[in-house]
Structure formats: C-alpha cells, structure tokens
C-alpha cells in the first residue's frame, strides 16, 4: 500500500496509436465488406468487426486490460443481460403466433381515430 504509483499502468503512446489505426482500418474493412452481398452473413460480418473494435476500445482505451477484473466482470454481466433481453424478446415475438393468431401487420396510414378511442380495456 505504500507505493501506489506502481499500481497505475500507463499505456505507452505507441500502443494507443496502433489501436487507433487498427480501429480506422476495421472501419474501412466494414465499409468494403458491405459492397459484397453475402446475404444474411453481411450483418454477422459487420457485427463481428464491430465487436472486435469494441473489444479494442474496452481493453486499451478504457484500460480494462490492466484494471481490477471486477470492472470487466461488470461489463460482461451487462453484455450477458443485453443478449438475454434480445434473445428472449426475439423468441417471444417470432413464436407467439404458434400460440395466438398475432402477426406483424401493416399499420394503416389513416386509421380512423374511433378505432382507438373506444378500446379502453384490453
């Protein structure tokens, strides 16, 4: 506890610049990759590249690589719950029509206001 200076990791300038140019290169690769049509894999590729960029920012710019690992645990927990949120909602909305006859419909452009006014209870 006596020599606190040694606990703070100071990232070298070179590391920051390498990360910066990697991030720019990854942005360029994302822009190039959408020029090709991989069907539904386009979104997968874009998300993998974005997650790689996010990891670089988190580990180096936000110092998670050198930090107390409890901070990383917090972040991982938030990402896990983000995934739970999206996956469960997607499963619900995609499969509820196997239980009820509810499907995504076109919203009527000029639906009469009376349609909504008289439906106070559901």
């Amino acid at each position: 506890m006596s020599n606190n200076e040694h606990h703070i990791h100071i990232t070298p300038l070179k590391t920051y610049l390498v990360i910066y140019f990697t991030l720019l290169l990854m942005t360029l690769i994302t822009l190039i990759s959408v020029q090709f049509d991989f069907g539904s894999f386009n979104i997968v590729i874009a998300m993998i590249i974005a997650s790689f960029k996010a990891t670089l920012v988190l580990l180096f710019f936000m110092h998670l690589l050198y930090d107390n690992k409890i901070n990383l645990a917090f972040l991982v927990a938030s990402v896990v719950f983000l995934a739970v949120f999206i996956v469960i909602t997607a499963v619900d909305t995609n499969y509820r029509n196997t239980l009820y006859d509810i499907r995504a419909k076109v919203v009527e452009e000029q639906a009469p206001a009376e349609n909504f006014r008289n439906k106070k209870s559901y």
């Binding site: 539904s40 874009a46 974005a50």
Partner: protein
C-alpha cells in the same frame, strides 16, 4: 503519493488508490446501466428488423453513408485524443493534456455539426419518426418502398438522438475538465475525474461503433 500530498484524499478511504478504484467501480456500474438503456433500443431494432427485413434495407438507403463514416472516424479520433489526455495527465503534463481535451471537445462539435446536416436532410425529405413520417417527392429524396418505413425512422431518430444527447453530456463534462485542468487541479497523483469522463466518452464511441453498421450499412 502520500496522504499529506493528496488534497482530494477523503478520510473514509484506506488510501488514494482505494479511493480511485472505488470511483472507477462506481463509474463502471453506471456504464452498465447505460449499456442496458441502449439495450432497449437495440432490442427494438432487432425485433422490427426481423419483422420488416425488406423495408429496413430500402429505408437505410435514405441515410448518408459518407456522413456516417466521417462521423465514425471523428468519434474514434476523439476517443484517441481523450485517451491521450488521460495519459498526459498520468505522466504529469497537464498542459499537453489540456490541448488534447480541447481537441476532443472540437471533434465532438464536428460530430454534432455533421449530425445536424444529416437530420436537416431527413426533415427536408419528411423522413421523420412515427406519425410525423411524411415523405416528400423532391428530386434529392429517395422514395422508400415497403411496409412501415416510419418504424425505421422512429428507431433511427431514437437511437441516434439518445446517442447525440450522450455526446452533448460528454461535451459538457469535457468543458468542465478543460476548466479544471486549466486551473491546475489535476496531477499524476489525482486525476479521477479525467479518467471517469474518459470512460464515459469511450462508451459514447462504443455505442456509435455498433450504431454505424446497424443503421447505415444494412446488407
């Protein structure tokens, strides 16, 4: 770094390092809530895109990829200058850190100016969220085919709007840092606010890293 030489050391902490670590953990707890706030929008995006895949592809063509890509570069650069500002205050060069904070602020301004021109074009074309959606047939506005295009613009404006509010909040915080760095409040012994605002600013960059491909670069 002894207790005597650290004016910001508070008595209820064991030592300045524990004080710094506690602040940082608190900041990460806040960033977790930020991720979960945006999770709602990412979830809405995922569900509506699954329901209207064609419309999302058609509607995203109304967005300007050049402006979006420029803004990505601007935000990544501002993240670098913010990280360097923290580094320079860590190595006890607050004057250089001040320059980097001012640069970060200017990049944030650039981001908002570009965002303004994007929004202005959406308003001009009537590509607005929800019930406000009222597409005009001007030569510089592309027609959007498919069901419910207003849903795409609801999601676009809510996501980029909330992100824009975070940019403005970050700018206010960076201005506060510029003021305090100018006053000479920060040294290598105490720079907790610089580090915390830095974390916030990088989160704003992180969210944009996902928003850019999701909104501007749909396959």
């Amino acid at each position: 770094m002894s207790k005597e030489t650290t004016p910001y050391f508070q008595h209820h902490f064991v030592d300045p390092e524990q004080q710094y670590e506690s602040s940082k953990l608190g900041m990460w707890a806040f960033l977790v809530t930020e991720v979960l706030t945006f999770a709602g929008f990412f979830c809405a995006y995922a569900i509506y895109r699954m329901w209207n895949p064609e419309m999302f592809i058609n509607a995203h063509k109304a967005l300007d990829v050049t402006m979006g890509a420029t803004n990505t570069v601007v935000l990544i650069t501002s993240s670098l200058t913010m990280a360097l500002a923290i580094r320079y205050v860590q190595v006890n060069k607050p004057k250089v850190a001040l320059v980097h904070l001012i640069l970060t602020f200017l990049f944030a301004c650039t981001f908002l100016v570009i965002k303004y021109f994007e929004y202005e074009h959406k308003f001009h074309c009537g590509h607005l969220p929800g019930a406000l959606y009222n597409p005009h047939v001007y030569p510089d506005c592309i027609p959007i085919e498919g069901n419910n295009p207003h849903v795409f613009f609801s999601i676009y404006f809510m996501m980029t709007g909330l992100h824009g509010i975070h940019v403005i909040a970050g700018m206010v915080l960076i201005l506060w840092l510029i003021f305090r760095t100018h006053k000479g409040h920060f040294t290598s012994a105490y720079y907790t606010p610089v580090e915390m605002v830095g974390l916030f600013w990088h989160l704003v960059d992180l969210i944009w890293i996902y928003l850019f491909p999701l909104l501007y670069l749909i396959g």
